[in-house]
Subunit: 249 residues, 2 copies
Amino acid sequence: MTTQHTPYTIGHAPSQTKHHEWRTASNSAAHLLPHLQKALTSNPNLNLLDIGCGPGTISASLAQHLLPSGHVLATDIADDVLSRAKEHAISQGLSVPGNISFQKASVYELPFSDNEFDIVHAHQVLCHLDDPVSAVKEMLRVCKPGGLISLRESDMRMWCFWPELPSLLKFHDLMVEVMLANGGQDKGGRKLVSWIMDAGVDRKDIEAGFGTWCYRVEEMVKGWEEWIERGEATLGIVNGEVIVRKAQA
Amino acid sequence: MTTQHTPYTIGHAPSQTKHHEWRTASNSAAHLLPHLQKALTSNPNLNLLDIGCGPGTISASLAQHLLPSGHVLATDIADDVLSRAKEHAISQGLSVPGNISFQKASVYELPFSDNEFDIVHAHQVLCHLDDPVSAVKEMLRVCKPGGLISLRESDMRMWCFWPELPSLLKFHDLMVEVMLANGGQDKGGRKLVSWIMDAGVDRKDIEAGFGTWCYRVEEMVKGWEEWIERGEATLGIVNGEVIVRKAQA
């Protein structure tokens, strides 16, 4: 198992973190929610591991879905976002560590026992890694037999812009180059099923789909002004989404 | 207004029509369904125009959502698919013409009065046209003020395959070339908002998003055998989706 980890291409600039804070379970883990509801009916004490939680808005949102007696353990490789994520959870009325707790961890070496979590969730994490298959193996290790692993990864080659201003296309090409130079992945969305099978999972235990984000003018980061001024400005981002059921031992 | 129409790139080969018959309102017009439910509560006699209905499985499915007293009028430029669509509707237990009726029509010159329909729906139609803006204007003409226009268009440049076998990528490039040579559109998904604004609609009256189809092995057409044999084979298709509310006069 490798212990190296890929530089986080996106960084934690305030503008980027603000964008990430827009994320909730509804807009970013919709493929998981029906499974969560179903699992809760047989086990109200679900424990969910959220890997690479960033500012933690999805983590907090998932913790709210697990109330009153489930629990989320949110991890990240970066200390500073973990403390921000903790503040966010408290601001949402969650009890720390009753409903949600936070811990620094590398996805390549999760400091947890085998078969510990009912659900393992990671959102836009594998695309930042140089070895996504090892990360999936590690997720499988800490997931209980019969438990679920929920993944959602952007496919940078499927972003689409309209209008296609040259400066914007250049910016996107640069983003992809930097992502690849950092050892990350540009086609995570379409490769998800392949990575999971390479980690040893049978295709029948994988439920795969694609989800999208669609942005309008107001949601775009500063610096895209020319594009923003166009009323028809549209940005589509396609994310691969999978639910994996860990086989019974 | 132009009367020419673009050759229908996909054709009506049995394999292709079979794929189209897989389509229902749930998997192909999910963005419209909540609006339909809401509109039905104030008007149970909704009349919906479905343009370019093809084998009519979405039309029949929409007619079932409008039961008992709404009505779908399904149109297509091709006679042969219209008769197949009628047979399909009858096989689904619908009354023709009570619940659904069929009529040959060009989207460029709809044989209907102004302000005639509560809802105008077209699925994968604009991408086959050389002048989508004129088509949208014609849809707006026949839609009642305050009524809805529902569109969903694939973006061929956002298809993604994994594994990326050269033969498959070549096949996709060829599909795009033929589509363009026939006067159709390769980026319909991302251009939808732009086309509708060019037809005179204000951005505030447009609700835009993207939806996807995700295919597995069993769903692929014959001839893609090499690709099909790979368990991880994944095809994602991204569709732009919009709901337009026609402004009150």
